[in-house]
Structures are given as structure tokens and as C-alpha cells.
Symmetry: C2
Subunit: 161 residues, 2 copies
DNA sequence: ATCATTATGGACCTATGATATCCATTATAA
DNA sequence: TTATAATGGATATCATAGGTCCATAATGAT
């Protein structure tokens, strides 16, 4: 279980766009030179980011990409979900297996109305909790926060001089 | 990015073993009937769990599997790592890209001794933090805790009657 | 000792998705 | 009108997940 390279590229591309905010329309050529990745591959990724409203793109002379929103409003979670998709981290296969059927029957036999309906697998419950934790964390970091961290390091160094 | 089916199978198999603790040596036939998965595939998974000391296996008549340790000492994290491997959730490709080189040069130019050595990518720093969060969460849940949750539900129902 | 039983590990297969390239087309500004 | 730059479709390659089959080894029962 790993994040794809595309996610890596997407995040770094967005950081570069954020760093170059005064200039608008950064071309794919500059982006792929900066990231060290092929033009054709990176444009697929940029295309996805555009379709999800994270960047704007303009073709033609002096065209290129720019952030569609302030860098502080683009979270890591959002970027990751655009690239990786929005499937759940964990899906319980064989919900009709004997193990699950027994648990469900238990619940049914007990006629516990509170438990009806939440026939979810207990393993999945734990894993869904893990996913929630992860999402909560990734929502707290934005493209801007990375830029801030970089300049904070820089200021720290300057103060020492 | 998703957990594999194998992780699903492994967790459910371990829960079944834990539920059947008094009987020892649960055969692969019983396990795969319970989980609804093929014998040949599940045995690969069980073999991994054995190699990592999570279950014990004994061949021959009346042989089978049993937990190698108390269910309360087998964490979700451990099981997941055995099955999924221990690679990092995020690896930064192109550490020699222009973007990374510039950051590194900045640090070097500043001659900030505190920052030397930690030339790590700022994106990776965030993602490593996410991984730590996830691991911390998954370490808190064990095979036993799932069993406890199930019986707690059961008691809750009995008290209402 | 032999035999039936059960786990093990190697070889193999297939499907899927990640990674990647190429090109024809479309949209834009100069 | 033209050069430029993004877009999307088709395609290729490779690694991994998911899965099967079989020969072998180990074990308890007879």
C-alpha cells in the first residue's frame, strides 16, 4: 500500500505553481523541467487537476497552468483524492461469508433494534476509523502550509546570522 | 491506494482462530469455508503469518493453525505490515529534481548546521506525519479488541431483555 | 512402518492498474 | 494566420495483486 508517483508529481507541481504565483501561466515545459518528469506524463496529471478545479489551464502562446484557488485552500487530502481516486482504504470482501453471516444472525436473533442496520463488519469499523484519522490529518495540510514551512526554515536561518 | 484483499483475509482468519481458542489447530479447510476464499490462496497468507510469528502451524492429521501469541498482543498494524510489506506510504521520487536541489542549496547556502542532514523533502515530511498517525491508530487495535467489541454488543443486547 | 492428512513452497497464470509515450486535435494569443 | 500549448485517445510496458496447481515434507493414527 503506497501512494502513487502521480500523487508525488501532483503535489510538487502545485507547490511550484504556488511559488510562482506572481507570474501566471506556468507552462508544462517549465513544470516538467523543475520536477524532472516527462512532459506527456505530467500533462495527464495536470489535466486531472484541472478537471477537479484545482488548477486553471490556458492553451496557446504564453499559456500554461495556475492555481484555481489560493494555495491555503488546497489541502493534501483533496490532491490525493483527485489522483488516487476516492475508493475506501479498506473494503470488506465476502460480506456473505460464514463469519459475517454469523455476526449478522447474532444481531438479528437478539432483536436489538439499536444494532439493526449497522450490520457492518467489525474489522471494517476499525479500518474506517483509521481512514478517518488519516483524512483528518491530511485535511490540515495545504500547499500553502508547505511554503510557510520552507520560509520559516529560511527565516530561522537568517535570524541566526 | 487501498489495502489488499489479502489483508482482509488475514485479519478475518486471525479473528476466527481467536474465537476458536479452546480447540487448537484449526485446519485450512475450516478457515477457507468460514471466510469464503480458496484453500490454495489462503494457505499462502497463513504461511506469511507463520513466518512472522503470528500463528503457529502443525502439519499432518489433526494439524492446522493456532495463534502464536495472545490475541491481545496481535495488533492490526502488525498484521497489515506482514501482508502489505513495510515500505513507506510515500516515497519521494526525483530527489535530485530541480525543486529539491534548490531547497537543498538554500539550506547549504545558509550554512545552518541545524538544518544540515535533514535535507528531506517538505512534502515527504507531511506524508511521513500522516503515516505516523495511521500507525499509531492501528497499533491501538488488536484481534482481541475486535472480539471484545463483538461481545460487548452482545451483552448490551442481553441486558435490554 | 505405513498411510492418510495437512501445511509448505515453487512454478505458473491472468487481470488490473501504474507508468509512460505518441499523436491528432483543439484552443488561444500574438 | 500562425506558432504555441493544453487535451484526450490509443497504445505499450511493467509490476503487482489475485489466484491455481502440484510435488514435497512433516505429522499423528493405525
Amino acid at each position: 500500500m503506497q501512494f502513487s508517483k502521480s500523487t508525488d508529481y501532483a503535489l510538487h507541481a502545485l507547490i511550484h505553481l504556488a511559488q510562482s504565483e506572481r507570474r501566471n501561466n506556468i507552462g508544462i515545459k517549465e513544470l516538467c523541467a523543475t520536477l524532472g518528469v516527462s512532459e506527456s506524463y505530467l500533462s495527464k496529471i495536470m489535466s486531472k487537476l484541472r478537471q477537479d478545479g484545482i488548477v486553471r489551464a490556458v492553451p496557446g502562446v504564453n499559456g500554461g497552468y495556475e492555481l484555481a484557488r489560493p494555495a491555503g485552500e488546497i489541502t493534501f487530502l483533496e490532491v490525493i483524492q483527485v489522483i488516487e481516486g476516492r475508493q475506501q482504504l479498506f473494503e470488506c470482501s465476502n460480506l456473505d461469508s460464514q463469519q459475517h453471516r454469523l455476526l449478522a444472525e447474532d444481531r438479528a436473533a437478539r432483536q436489538d433494534q439499536d444494532c439493526q442496520g449497522q450490520s457492518e463488519c467489525l474489522v471494517k469499523k476499525v479500518m474506517d476509523g483509521a481512514e478517518r484519522q488519516l483524512h483528518q490529518y491530511l485535511r490540515e495540510y495545504t500547499i500553502q502550509s508547505v511554503l510557510d514551512a520552507a520560509s520559516k526554515e529560511c527565516n530561522h536561518a537568517l535570524n541566526k546570522k
